[in-house]
């Protein structure tokens, strides 16, 4: 497992780039700029 501990409560969230459908990319901050965000990282798809 990675040694990176990632973000902690109170720290700025990391504005990562993710893929939407059809290969377009989007920044995660797009989803928290207007309202709080729940970001769920799934173990896998399916």
């Amino acid at each position: 497992m990675s040694g990176n501990t990632g973000v902690l409560v109170g720290q700025p969230a990391l504005d990562v780039t993710l893929e939407k459908g059809e290969g377009a990319s989007v920044r995660l901050s797009e989803f928290w700029k207007d309202s709080p965000l729940v970001a769920i990282f799934m173990r896998h798809l399916g």
Binding site: S2, L18, E19, S35, P36, V38, A39, F41, L45
Partner: protein, 130 residues
């Protein structure tokens, strides 16, 4: 998760699900499963790593907790498609305020250690949402 969509909506939050696949696969499977949330892909795993969600070892994929969770999920009628993407990624969930600050964190210690919808709703009710 799907059943609780109105509860998340009532609290005025957006929900995105991120999978270790490309965006097209994420979008397609979420469409098939009628997932009512925005589905995004992270094929390189960079976002997982940035948020401290590494790749688990065999012991985190197959242990008493993961096997018993899978068994009872199946017993309860849970079905899923053939898994796509990096199957060794560990799950996690984060609440981020509209000021860009992290308000709640859950990182899976093994493959089956993921926050339930009720865990997340309870967390939303306990933090001072901004």
């Amino acid at each position: 998760m799907r059943l609780y969509q109105p509860e998340f909506e009532k609290r005025g939050v957006r929900v995105v699900t991120i999978t270790p696949t490309d965006g097209a696969a994420s979008h397609s499977v979420c469409g098939m499963l009628n997932v009512p949330y925005t589905c995004l892909g992270d094929p390189s795993g960079e976002a997982y790593e940035a948020y401290g969600l590494g790749r688990g070892g065999w012991g985190q994929m197959f242990n008493f907790h993961t096997i018993s969770r899978a068994f009872f999920a199946k017993l309860g009628g849970h079905r899923h498609a053939k898994p796509v993407g990096d199957r060794f990624r560990l799950p996690g969930a984060f609440i981020i305020g509209s000021n860009g600050r992290t308000q709640w964190v859950q990182r899976g210690r093994d493959a089956a250690d993921h926050a339930s919808a009720l865990d997340m709703l309870s967390a939303l009710d306990s933090v001072n949402l901004v």
